[in-house]
């Protein structure tokens, strides 16, 4: 993707509730690039779930380390990247393929990841020693693509 352009970077504390700031920020950018109201709702939920994962598993609840959300565009997509600093003690198997047919049951079935996969157009998850990156892409509407 040679035309990737970073637009906005947001850092929120690893505290539940701050995912709403990420939702608001992503919404404002998505409106600017012409994404439809319905797809914006999908994106908001996906971003919230990615942030919650980063807060809960990535940084551990209450950690002072930030969750970093970067928002970019390439020729075809709005790209959202959520990353933590891998300070948490428990890590889910984020990279593992999610069963898209069967929603997880039980409180720790990682419902969040299941939702993310269903709500955005592309998901790519990278687990590294320095943190987990959740890359999400939402296709720009045909009306704004030339």
């Amino acid at each position: 993707m040679p035309t990737k352009r970073q637009l906005v970077e947001l850092q929120i504390p690893s505290i539940f509730g701050y995912e709403k700031v990420a939702m608001a920020t992503v919404t404002a950018v998505a409106l600017r690039v012409g994404i439809s109201a319905e797809r914006i709702e999908d994106l908001r939920t996906a971003v919230a779930e990615a942030c919650i994962n980063a807060i809960e598993y990535g940084n551990g609840v209450g950690a002072a380390a930030p969750v970093v959300v970067t928002i970019s565009t390439d020729a075809l997509h709005l790209l959202i990247d959520v990353r933590d600093l891998a300070l948490g003690s428990t890590k889910p198997q984020m990279g593992k393929m999610v069963d898209l047919q069967n929603p997880p049951t039980g409180p720790h079935g990682n419902m969040g990841l299941f939702l993310i996969h269903h709500l955005v157009d592309k998901v790519h998850i990278v687990c590294r020693a320095n943190g987990t990156h959740v890359h999400m892409a939402m296709r720009l509407p045909d009306s704004v693509l030339h």
């Binding site: 919650i52 069967n102 969040g112 939702l115």
Partner: protein
């Protein structure tokens, strides 16, 4: 926090409606459980969960709803859902929640359907 969940318990034509106001997240658990048990202790056997006052539900909140549904099923309580936006109706369907509870657009439809089924008629108020 300003969006902390508050649940009102209201009786409407022999059906008990739980009005949810605020965010349905992990912070909502004790309030939701409290309201549910208050309704059950009052003798309710047919409950409507009304999400009209909610515009943020996340996976932790969904997990709480699922555990309420499981508890309702065990206790032979009928629980239905109304007031969800189109987006959250889609999400509830996506995660399979609609297999456990009927979802109606409005409270009126939900209450009417429960009455049609004869559920809640004998519930004490």
């Amino acid at each position: 926090m300003a969006q902390e969940l508050k649940v009102g318990v209201r009786h409407s034509a022999a059906v008990t409606v739980l009005d949810l106001h605020g965010d349905v997240t992990m912070f909502a658990e004790s309030e939701l459980t409290r309201a549910y048990h208050q309704a059950i202790d009052d003798g309710a056997r047919a409950l409507v969960l009304n999400f009209a006052g909610t515009d943020y539900i996340n996976s932790a909140g969904i997990a709480i709803i699922i555990s309420l549904l499981t508890e309702a099923r065990t206790g032979a309580v009928t629980l239905v859902i109304c007031g969800l936006s189109t987006h959250y109706q889609k999400i509830f369907r996506m995660v399979g929640l609609t297999q456990y509870a009927e979802v109606y657009d409005t409270e009126d439809l939900a209450v009417q359907e429960l009455k049609n089924r004869g559920i809640g008629e004998s519930a004490p108020v």
